[in-house]
């Protein structure tokens, strides 16, 4: 996993609620056996017509917006557990998703992919969406060590919560496998003392 520290970028607004992982990456693209390349099919059915031509009204096709932060409506990433959704966002160049609520499995998958799920309040989300739509060049700074999303033009810094352990992992590019494999003696001891096993 790549290290995540500070991000100076702009945002891409997608103000829809309950965006499910079937929209982020439709099931028919899950046939690959590697992690790479899912970005081309990110939001495929919203982004392209059946004949493969881009839909001009979808934000990822708009020349107005670019950046490494996707700013999306409440309850982002609900539905299927497919980690491919996080891989697709990452592969398409996103490094953080801002929303006022994330589905649990997506949140975990994003953290394991090196994609920051950055939760703000409903009011902050509304302000950010409106701000980006008004000014697509609006600079955003994601400071993970300080746990803030800053909008320098507004002199504003929105704080966000992140699990202390997960924060360390992201900053250093560590993942849970290293940690868990090192727990082997404790795990084996646990297996020995289990009263029941069938």
């Amino acid at each position: 996993m790549e290290k995540f520290q500070t991000l100076h970028t702009t945002g891409v607004p997608l103000p829809l609620e309950n965006i499910d992982t079937d929209q982020i990456i439709p099931a028919r693209f899950l046939k690959a056996t590697t992690r790479e390349g899912f970005g081309t099919n990110l939001f495929c059915d919203w982004r392209y017509r059946a004949d493969g031509t881009p839909k001009a009204d979808f934000v990822l096709n708009s020349p107005r917006y670019a950046g490494q932060v996707l700013v999306a409506g409440k309850n982002f990433g609900c539905g299927s557990s497919r980690e491919h959704a996080a891989w697709a966002l990452y592969d398409a160049g996103f490094r953080a998703v801002v929303s006022s609520y994330f589905a649990d499995i997506f949140r975990g998958n994003a953290l394991n992919t090196g994609l920051l799920p950055l939760q703000v309040s409903d009011a902050e989300l509304a302000r950010l969406l409106a701000g980006i739509e008004a000014d697509p060049q609006l600079a955003l700074v994601v400071d993970l060590p300080a746990q803030t999303l800053q909008v320098p033009a507004w002199g504003a810094a929105f704080g966000f919560a992140i699990d202390a352990y997960k924060k360390e992992c992201l900053i250093n590019g560590y993942d849970d496998i290293d940690f868990l494999v090192n727990q082997k003696p404790a795990i084996e001891a646990y297996e020995q003392q289990r009263a029941w096993a069938w």
Partner: protein, 464 residues
């Protein structure tokens, strides 16, 4: 101290806690399938790690498989390569695989319970969000991402934050024609798709107790559709009767010992839940969804809402536009093109029996294509043994071979763009059953009656 059912099981699986609050949780059973495992095997291989406890894993091929001619090689090259990769990985690492053609093959959440692998008091994970199904047995079962699949492969553990607890009680008796599927669609419509995020849900109350194991699995299956990490139901006599004698269930003295333990698995009388809801079973009627998330459900005889909370209008109208419905309208009389009976929510023998009992001696409407995809090879065999296959054939329903099929349309079983499908599956997301497909979620009974009538009707007027 008074403890919830969930915490009793979780506590029994904590290997250790770490300073930041997470716990290393031991996983008893790890189920895998072809779609979310290849990258995890690669991860393990890239780090030169062995599988820690391959004996606690079980693999099946379900998501991608065709439901016709399973005795022949898979034609679609990408699906075939994914299934081949699973076979290759299972051979290389010594994981038991019930692949295509195997007598025990089927949807991962159907075969676990059917084989007695799903047991009360266990922790079960799978790289699939509907792992919550197994909670019906009083197990802590939940879906995980592929990175976590690799973690369990490497250590048989996960590093987790303990979720919050929610209890949903449904009291009273369900009315005629109202099934477990209606119960859970009703609950999700009340709570919304994010209503249980961060929680593990225990289902309780007399209406839940009265459900068969199949019904309980349907309920727990859809926990994820309201955002819950999982759902579970305390084991009782119904559970024990279902588990006893299954291939992987404990036997003899082990069985006695297991039962003694399982009988301690319930929420203590004054155990605390962060959130509690109680619903009246009498209020629940046959349900259907009209929108593009499972929370958008209404009684069959109800109306699409005309008012929505401020700020949600854009998503709501986008959804209605996709479905071709209007605010405030009734769905009664709408013509349906497809009926899909299958998926890990409703593809067990009880579901097939319900459909057969209704359609016996009737005919599906001429314009409807009705397919039934059993959840497993064993369900299929049982249906044949009971003569249910003949009832389906006579009524014009096509009984296919087992797999996930049109639930997520990774194989050839797709609903065409713009067509309406009443489905017994669990997700009505845009394009879930194929690009442009329009899904209406309902119970097997509603699906059967819809297939016969060819349009949405008030099923209470058509019950046998």
């Amino acid at each position: 101290m008074a403890t919830t059912l969930f915490d009793k099981i979780w506590d029994a699986h904590v290997v250790r806690s770490i300073a930041s609050g997470q716990e290393v949780v031991y996983i008893d059973r790890h189920l895998i399938h072809e779609v979310t495992s290849p990258q995890a095997f690669d991860e393990i291989a890239a780090r030169g790690l062995p599988l820690f406890r391959p004996g606690q894993m079980l693999a099946t091929a379900d998501h991608n498989v065709p439901t016709l001619h399973q005795d022949q090689p898979i034609r679609e090259p990408l699906s075939r390569s994914q299934v081949d990769k699973l076979t290759e990985n299972c051979q290389k690492y010594g994981v038991e695989l019930y692949g295509l053609g195997h007598q025990r093959q089927g949807i991962v959440h159907v075969i676990g319970p059917e084989l007695g692998l799903t047991l009360p008091g266990t922790t079960i994970v799978c790289g699939d969000s509907h792992t919550s199904t197994h909670g019906a047995f009083g197990a802590v079962a939940f879906g995980i991402g592929t990175s976590q699949v690799a973690q369990v492969m490497a250590s048989q553990c996960l590093l987790l934050n303990r979720p919050q607890r929610m209890r949903i009680s449904v009291e009273g008796e369900l009315q005629r024609g109202v099934t477990a599927k209606d119960l859970i669609l009703y609950v999700i419509a009340q709570l919304g798709t994010g209503g249980a995020t961060g929680h593990f849900v225990e289902y309780a109350g007399s209406a839940v107790r009265a459900l068969s194991m199949e019904g309980r699995m349907t309920v727990c299956n859809m926990s994820i559709e309201m955002g819950a990490r999982g759902g579970l139901i305390a084991p009782d006599a119904t559970t024990l009767a279902y588990v006893a004698g299954r291939p992987f269930a404990p036997k003899g003295a082990d069985w006695e010992k297991a039962v003694a333990y399982w009988q301690t698995l319930y929420s203590d009388a004054d155990a605390a839940f962060e959130t509690e809801y109680t619903f009246d079973a009498q209020q629940i009627t046959p349900m259907i969804t009209y929108g593009t998330n499972p929370g958008m459900g209404i009684p069959l005889t109800g109306h699409v809402p005309s008012e929505v909370p401020e700020g949600e209008a854009e998503s709501f109208d986008k959804s209605l536009k996709y479905m071709g419905f209007e605010r405030g309208e009734s769905l009664l009389g709408k013509q349906i093109d497809y009926v899909f009976i299958g998926s890990c929510t409703n593809s067990r023998i009880e579901d097939l029996r319900t459909v057969a009992a209704y359609v016996q001696g009737k005919q599906k409407a001429g314009h409807v294509e009705a397919i039934i995809v059993p959840g497993s090879k064993q369900v299929e065999q049982q249906a044949i043994a009971e003569g249910i296959d003949k009832i389906f054939a006579a009524a014009g329903f096509e009984l296919r071979e087992p797999g996930c099929s049109a639930c997520l349309a990774m194989n050839e079983d797709k609903i065409p763009a713009g067509a309406y499908c009443v489905a017994t599956s669990n997700r009505n997301f845009e394009g879930r059953q194929g690009p442009g497909s329009r899904t209406l979620l309902a119970s097997p009974l509603v699906a059967a009656i819809t297939a016969v009538q060819g349009r949405i009707v008030d099923i209470t007027k058509y019950l046998n």
